[in-house]
Symmetry: C2
Subunit: 146 residues, 2 copies
DNA sequence: GGGGGCAGGTCTCAAATAAAGACCTCTGTT
DNA sequence: AACAGAGGTCTTTATTTGAGACCTGCCCCC
């Protein structure tokens, strides 16, 4: 079996991005000192517990702090604030304060944030379609012999 | 502005998966009791710190425990073991023990794991291409007035 | 003019997760 | 006998997350 092949079938060529990613890793594994990989830098951020959910929620329309809190029932205010700050810092969402009484704050996706929707959608779609496979695999694993 | 529109431009239709995702969320926000969303169930797992990196590393070829440890220098053995177990449990990778002395253990992507490569690649590609935008946004945010 | 409510947070403290790195087992080798 | 290497586990410590009390204007109601 040659490198670049798995089980005798050639890998999808959309996977070249992943090969580039692995190359960052490889270069890094050859060096000393702290790890530095731009892809990880980005994915570690949006890969936290709430970011993807937040972006998905804001995809349909801009929303206010308390709307978001109602939409994502099980996030604490603390994490809601922090996730919104982090996403704003990364330029994925923007924050707009309206001088109502009391003031209201609206969050919306920036163009950069919108550019994430397509790649995110393909991942969400995968998760949705493969959920039953994964669920079954878990059940099988959990009742396997110790 | 109508629902389904952002800034007057119609959203990409690849985003329909995200709308379905949001609908899970919405249904959930109407109910009481614990949150249940299959998409979150899956994404929370592969969205941890190491899973995507592990799958990317295994995408090029099957690898052994210590090869993986060398490739991903900054993972602890504990998290390496745990991440591999979790991925195996979810059916994304398989584990093969060879009766060499001492025994060696090889991990490889299952077909289910391989099916994740395409969606993952589009995310990795996004991260790679948008890294500079995000980096700039962070710098701008960090020197903004308090 | 005192009390209550609302929006959008912050703060403190406890609980859950992750990391570092010492240790273990089983050969095989010197 | 001592050490080495593979593939882990175990213990201790640090980092993240969560729950929920509190804060700050400002308005309305009586």
């Amino acid at each position: 079996m040659l490198p670049g092949e798995i089980k005798g079938t050639r890998m999808s060529n959309a996977v070249s991005a992943i090969e580039r990613f692995s190359r960052y890793q490889f270069d890094d594994s050859q060096s000393v000192g702290p790890v530095h990989c731009p892809v990880r830098d980005v994915l570690d951020r949006i890969g936290d517990k709430w970011s993807i959910l937040m972006i998905a929620t804001l995809a349909t329309r801009p929303q206010r702090f308390s709307e978001l809190h109602r939409a994502i029932r099980d996030i604490s205010k603390r994490m809601l604030t922090q996730t919104l700050r982090d996403l704003e810092r990364d330029g994925l969402i923007t924050r707009h304060v309206f001088p109502t009484k009391p003031p209201s704050v609206e969050y919306r996706l920036s163009p950069l944030g919108q550019s994430l929707l397509d790649p995110m959608a393909s991942l969400v779609d995968w998760a949705d379609r493969r959920y039953s496979d994964i669920h079954d695999a878990r059940a099988r694993f959990d009742r396997a012999p110790v």
